[in-house]
Amino acid sequence: MRTTPLKSLLADAGATFGQRHGVESAISYADARTEYRRIRDAAAVTDFSFTQKFRIPEAGALDFLDNLLAGNVARTRFGRVLHTFLADDDGHLVADCYVANNDEEFVLLCESIVDDATLAGVLAAHGAAEAGMEDLTQSHALISIDGFKAWAVVKELFGADVVGLPYLSIETYQFEGEGIRLIRAGKTSEFGYMLLAPASCAGHLFSRAKELSEGQGGGCCGIAIHDALRLEGRFFNIQAEGRLVKDPLPLGLQWMIDFDKEKFRGSAAIRMRREEGLKQKIIGVRSEQVLSPGAPIFTSAGKVADVVVSCHSPTLDAHVGLALFPCDIAFAGLTCSLGSAKGPEVRTISMPPIMPRSLGVKLDEM
């Protein structure tokens, strides 16, 4: 089983470890509410090294990546990042991908729901070797700094100009003489930065980021709390609804797809389903009761939907989730019942249901 290059450091910081798709990761450090507040109110550092990471030289990258991924890599300008996905031949999700155009290279980060060997096999079958792809998964750590004050942590690490980086952009900074590829991205709906660091300096970088996050009133977070934050902020989570529903269209991921591209892996199946028309759509739900995954949702006339994923939102002090509804009634603003026609109330809601503090911060305040 692969483990993170930061394992001993994370263990010393109090991490509880678990496994995701054959990779050992730090699941948590403290209770969920504490970790939640670290990100919503301060800054937190999370080890995302379970992510599969690759570097492709510019010369071989465009054809390789554009034939593989659903989005348009060729249109991704220098210094910018494309958020898209990798599907299988049936058009079902395999990995949530960031593709960064970083001068003479492209960086590919895959948060996948398959193990390393399976993903490597897919990439190899589609020309990874011919493209000159280099696997950075074992040699590099991926450290995520997220939170309302995350910008202050990266500003201290890399200097003031990092604050002006637009969302979904990449820049390389120096740390202890090593190049750190920094991608401004995240799925908590607060400020987020992903640092791709060689293993040789990743430990020191993590420690320094942790120290600075603690200085902002935050600290370390495990990967588990990110599931709740993604749901609350209505960021697609391949580990949750992605893994369960698999079809990008009912999940509303059409924005990740360039339908004008000639082809990409799974494109024929996705185009066919698009032409047939959607039968179901995932929408937000909210209840004062616990929303168990799989729980049925009823109107007065009968069962209409099932809960797919859920979490408790400390900000709302309510349970929020995603449920698969038939398209003809997949609308916010409806009052339904949970479990039976006479069960407790569950309402369909607009997502995201919270207003993150980071959205209100102006550049001149940073």
Partner: protein, 101 residues
């Protein structure tokens, strides 16, 4: 057809009408390469998701004014998070004006 009461169907019909009108105008104004069915109502409009910028945000505000005669205040950025949050605002404003459609 899914089993719903007449009251629920009325809510659906009203919301659907606002959504469809807004989506068609948005796609036209911003020349988006999508059909209305492609645009999930919860997709983020600015930054993540559709990745629209501040100039596009002005177009969205004009889109709402053009479709519904409703102005989104400059300071109310939370309204622009998704199609659904915009539709919530439109319906709320319509109800405040006495249900004008």
């Amino acid at each position: 057809m899914s089993p719903v009461s007449p009251e629920m169907q009325a809510i659906i019909d009203r919301r659907s009408s606002v959504i469809n009108k807004f989506k068609e105008e948005l796609i036209r104004r911003l020349n988006l390469p999508y059909t209305p069915q492609d645009l999930h109502e919860d997709v983020s409009l600015l930054g993540a998701g559709l990745g629209l910028d501040s100039l596009d945000a002005l177009e969205i505000v004009l889109c709402v004014e053009n479709c519904f005669g409703i102005k989104i205040p400059d300071e109310n950025i939370s309204v622009l998070r998704s199609i659904n949050t915009i539709v919530d605002f439109v319906i709320q404003e319509q109800d405040a004006k006495g249900g004008a459609r």
